[in-house]
């Protein structure tokens, strides 16, 4: 046994990066073989070591499963799943709401026309998520660890979108009362509040076109000027796809802002072939 270990140690010395704690864990096991080579090439002691790791991670998963079984059981014992009265197509409730994971989209209905909020924006989101690994030009750094510094733009862009999705859900779930009117948490939701009669304004059609042209050209040009080398690392196609996706994402908070500060209903209102296209 001892001879065998010495031999392997001489043949293939592999430097493994590990913390002191991990070293304590394996120091009596003579870790010196690359584990990716396969189970058979390991000495019996090293086999023990890998099996032990397998057992420990399965153990952690087992405990996690046990913990959540317990949580779900207690939750189910003390809280009943909602069940209201029988469905009645002729009686529309005041506060009709989608299931919570779609409430973000329902929130968007307040700011956008249904075809944008319910179809176009989710489709762009879906396509954007699928395209994400191909847009990211950085193929090597930041794999396998939580690191903001290794890829600041990717992390902040994704986290912004992710946070927006959940903020919309929280607002839609907890801050909306009857008639989808905004309620603060300390206001009584059983009291029906009339929506304030605000006169919504639209941008003039020229203004709307000017806004979109200026906005998108700013979004295309600004990152190229501010972040040196950004355009170069991304390449032309990736750059334009990334920038336009970001521009569309940022339009959502911009529209919300315009709605609440300036009472803007539509930035651009078009009528093409008897069809209203409002943005």
């Amino acid at each position: 046994m001892a001879e065998e270990q010495d031999e392997t140690k001489d043949k293939d010395e592999v430097i493994v990066r590990m913390s002191k704690e991990e070293w304590e864990y394996v120091k009596d096991l003579h870790v010196s073989v690359d584990y990716k080579e396969g189970f058979e090439t390991l000495t019996p002691k090293q086999q023990d070591y890998t099996v032990r790791h397998l057992r420990d991670s399965v153990g952690i998963e087992f405990i996690a499963g046990l913990l959540f079984t317990f949580i779900i059981m207690v939750w189910s014992l003390y809280m009943d799943a909602p069940l209201k009265e029988l469905a009645n197509p002729s009686d529309t409730p005041l506060d009709e709401r989608a299931p919570w994971y779609f409430i973000g989209l329902q929130e968007l209905l307040i700011y956008f026309d249904p075809w944008l909020a319910g179809v176009v924006i989710p489709s762009i989101l879906f396509v954007g998520l699928i395209a994400l690994p191909f847009i990211d030009p950085n193929k090597e750094s930041g794999i396998g660890r939580y690191s903001f510094r290794a890829r600041p733009i990717a992390v902040s862009a994704f986290c912004f979108g992710y946070a927006m999705w959940y903020i919309l859900i929280v607002v839609g779930q907890f801050f909306r009362g009857p008639g989808r009117v905004f309620y603060w948490p300390w206001e009584d939701k059983t009291v029906v509040k009339d929506a304030l009669p605000v006169e919504m304004v639209n941008f003039h059609i020229a203004g709307g076109f000017a806004f979109f042209i200026l906005y998108f050209s700013a979004c295309v040009i600004a990152p190229r000027l501010i972040f040196k080398g950004f355009y170069k690392t991304l390449g032309t196609t990736r750059y334009y796809i990334f920038v336009s996706l970001m521009a569309i994402m940022l339009l959502v908070p911009i529209k919300i802002f315009l709605r609440y500060i300036f009472d803007v209903k539509y930035i651009l209102s078009l009528e093409i072939f008897n069809t209203a296209l409002n943005f």
Binding site: V16, M18, E21, E22, Y25, V26, Y35, G38, Q47, D48, T50, V51, R52, H53, L54, R55, D56, S57, G59, I60, E61, F62, A64, G65, F68, I72, M73, W75, S76, D80, A81, L83, K84, E85, L86, A87, N88, P89, D91, P93, E96, R97, P99, W100, Y101, F102, P114, W115, G118, V119, P122, I130, P133, K139, S141, G142, G144, R145, R151, V155
Partner: protein
């Protein structure tokens, strides 16, 4: 010398003390974190399962102990929730009819007649919420650790589809109790399809009339009704779970093919 011994005894943490007890040894001795025999039956069994299911790498490298602070078990728990939902869902299927006239009464029966009906229905509902939450958190984890980068791009795409399937699964299940909450929640959700450009009846440049547009494929008519309930039931109980299970198998297999979880394993 005695002082030193006393100090040593005081320095022992609660965990160390617990490890010495017979109860700890009985529960965790051979199974989990205690002393262990490499070729005991339980370890051989585990190795065999790992080999067949490919749920875990055959070999694990040094960082394995940190797994909990890296993946937070988010993906694994999603699978666990899926299994739990399948079991509770199968139980609920015994008593449930996808019929507008019976569905609501069936769900009420879970409350008052069926033994453990309330508990199982509650578990099904709350686990579904947890699953949607954990799948989306899992996506965040995968993004933050760069686990979508080559060679794992395809697995990211499969993951996005799994997220959508999870949401659709939850959404189709939402209608089944056939109460006011379900009816109007699904009406809101389905009205989105009605407004699709070109293909929806109310969307811009509508080509198709109401009742024949893309929305009616899902709803089975102009408004939510009996056809909708049956369609949603079949989607919820057969199509989507099978799709999720199949894609999940592919998802895990791809993880093994890529050399394991991206992180410090």
């Amino acid at each position: 010398m005695e002082e030193k011994k006393e100090k040593e005894q005081k320095g022992k943490s609660i965990k160390d003390l617990a490890k010495g007890t017979q109860v700890w040894k009985a529960i965790f001795g051979d199974l989990l974190f205690g002393e262990f025999k490499p070729f005991s039956p339980i370890n051989s069994l585990m190795r065999g399962i790992a080999k067949i299911m490919q749920l875990h790498p055959y070999n694990m490298s040094v960082g394995g102990k940190r797994i909990i602070m890296y993946t937070f078990c988010l993906g694994g728990l999603s699978v666990f929730f899926f299994a739990l939902l399948t079991c509770t869902g199968a139980f609920l299927m015994i008593y449930y009819n996808p019929d507008v006239n019976k569905a609501y009464a069936n769900v009420e029966d879970f409350r008052y007649i069926v033994p453990f009906g309330v508990l199982i229905r509650n578990m099904h509902r709350w686990t579904a919420h947890l699953m949607v939450m954990f799948v989306s958190l899992h996506m965040l984890r995968v993004f933050l650790t760069g686990a979508y980068k080559p060679p794992r791009e395809l697995n990211w795409i499969v993951g996005v589809i799994l997220l959508v399937f999870t949401m659709l699964s939850s959404f189709t299940g939402y209608l089944l109790p056939w109460d006011q909450l379900a009816y109007w929640g699904v009406t809101i959700g389905c009205s989105m399809g009605e407004n699709a450009p070109l293909l929806g009846a109310k969307g811009p440049f509508a080509l198709l009339e109401s009742g024949k547009d893309v929305n009616s494929i899902l709803v089975g008519g102009a408004a939510v009704g009996q056809p909708t309930l049956l369609r949603f039931y079949l989607l919820h109980a057969i199509a989507l779970p099978l799709g999720i299970a199949g894609l999940m198998g592919f998802h895990f297999w791809r993880i093994r093919r890529a050399g394991g979880v991206s992180g410090p394993l």
